[in-house]
């Protein structure tokens, strides 16, 4: 935080001024404070409590201790599958999206003329990717006899529609997430623009080839942006819902392969009315996201370089 300026500290009335500033600060924060405590912090505490109960909204919550959690991890194959496919989706989809975004950003950074057009065109899917409309389009495109299926038939590949097949629906969901690489790409592109040209020229003079320049100049200077995109990408991927729900018609099928954690949570809490159990699922999700964020923050020292900052 910013330190008080020395000339202000000695001035009389300083304490009164600080008090006034505190009052103003909290006044400006009233809506946010209400939202933070009323709609985030207290509900979080309550959902933690609910996760130790059996609760169906009609009768009061009944304390059952760790039963929900024990059941999730030992006696609920649906949850285990849900956790598994969610992890695959996150751990495969996010790196591919990041690589696609970085690759295209580097391509766009090569030339300024015309780049603005492509930048916008690639960004569009990020805005609508999670919408129901796009999920419906995806469903139609990958259905049996849909454009993708018929397109592959032209090459003699007959997969027979991706929607109904347990082995193909997850790759299809990953493709849908990779398709939304645009927002990540825009952030990479802004980062690339900040890399000083002289560094590349100096590296070239020292005889570094393109790959070497990429490894030794681009990657280190871009590492804060990579870190940011990786963090937000992972966390966002855990929360995919609408597309999975629509593509499976709310079932999480075929064979539970679109039953992502959020879909399972929704079905458990709001379709089956098992609110306590659903709260436990939500807390497992929260803990996993927190662990991933923690690991990323802990390891960032070893690979994220902040220029002009010798912490």
């Amino acid at each position: 935080m910013r330190k008080q300026r020395p000339e202000l500290v000695s001035r009389p009335g300083q304490r009164q001024r600080a008090r006034k500033e505190t009052a103003a600060g909290y006044a400006f924060l009233i809506p946010w404070l209400l939202g933070f405590f009323g709609l985030t912090l207290v509900p979080m505490a309550y959902s933690l409590y609910l996760s130790f109960t059996s609760y169906n909204i009609f009768s009061p919550p009944k304390w059952i201790g760790l039963d929900n959690y024990v059941r999730l991890f030992t006696a609920d194959p649906n949850f285990m599958q849900s956790a598994q496919i969610t992890l695959i989706y996150v751990l495969v989809g996010t790196p591919i999206t990041l690589l696609a975004a970085l690759g295209v950003a580097i391509l766009l950074n090569y030339r300024d003329k015309g780049a603005a057009f492509f930048r916008s065109a690639f960004y569009a899917p990020s805005l609508i990717g999670g919408s129901v409309s796009v999920a419906i389009v995806w469903r139609a495109m990958f259905n049996t006899d849909g454009p993708v299926d018929s397109g592959l038939n032209l090459f003699g590949i007959d997969l027979g529609g991706w929607i109904g097949q347990p082995g193909l629906i997850l790759p299809m969901m990953i493709l849908l997430s990779v398709w939304q690489f645009g927002a990540t790409m825009v952030i990479f592109l802004a980062g690339l623009k900040q890399v000083p040209r002289e560094l590349y020229e100096a590296a070239e003079m020292d005889g570094a080839n393109a790959w070497r320049r990429f490894r030794a100049v681009t990657i280190p200077l871009l590492s804060p942006v990579i870190f940011f995109n990786l963090l937000l990408g992972l966390i966002g991927a855990f929360q995919v819902f609408a597309s999975a729900y629509i593509i499976s018609n709310g079932t999480g099928g075929p064979a539970g392969m679109t039953n992502f954690i959020t879909v399972y949570l929704y079905k458990t809490g709001f379709a089956d009315g098992r609110m306590g159990y659903a709260a436990a699922i939500a807390w497992v999700l929260l803990v996993v996201v927190a662990i991933i964020a923690f690991i990323l923050f802990r390891t960032q020292k070893s690979w994220v370089h902040y220029s002009g900052d010798n912490r």
Binding site: P31, W32, L33, G114, V137, A140, V186, G269, V289
Partner: protein
Amino acid sequence: MTISSSSPNALVQLENQVDPDPKTAPRRRVKRKTWQTIIWFVALLTITAVVLYPLVWLFVSTFKPNSEFGQNQGLIPNSPTLDNYAKVMEGIAGVPMGQFFWNSFVLAALSVVGTVISSALAAYAFARLQFKGLGVLFAAMIGTLLLPFHVVIIPQYILFNNLGLVDTFVPLLLPKFLATEAFFVFLLVQFIRQMPRDMDEAAKIDGAGHFRVFWSIILPLIRPALITCAIFSFIWAWNDFLGPLLYLTSPENYPLPIALRLYNDQTSSSDYGATVTASFVALLPILLFFIVFQRFLVDGVATQGLKG
């Protein structure tokens, strides 16, 4: 757009230089550059085609009669028709399409108002004021940026259910007026911090209070960021699915995404035309928004990421 628009200039520049062998060396370099540009262009056009194909497919499919789905996967409809549009405008479940549109619009517009006001107030406090607890509260705000929203949906649902507010717009709008979307607060904080302090300090010396500084100096300065927030909150509210799915139960309250689900459910394969057309119609305002405001959207994302 011309592919080689930059090369003539480069050629002139190079030929003006004193070169030991003016005929061959510079020309070869120019040629190589032109080729690189052409490859660059073709590569990006290919990616564009792949990325935009689903949207183009959606658009042209709205003109296909039902009988053509499953047979004609090409882009061009064999016998184009406007029947799908007529059918979609009639609506579904006894509710006309216009009603769904209106619901979506009301939700999105009020979300914009709530988000912009509450986030700007909070951002001013976080970015410009010094007070006890600032550090802790700012960290908490950043924390909610990473918090999976699903942890609070069950208690929030119970809360609004107990208040008798299910099947109203209140559960969907109240969070917007209370700045619960940390993304916007964070974006505005970053933007305000970039603004020079000279003007607000001058205003304070002239006796302006914090609200005056906020209203007359900061708000006009951060207008581009406010526009970015407004556009994003509009689009997100327009696209939101989980919220309305939880809270809205009667079809006359449904916004478009939930209404689309009706098409999708009832017509698993029989009325593709209406489903696809309704999807396109629902997407149309966003696509128009995007075309008009893309500069704000793209720049907004770029600033947000870089300062993180």
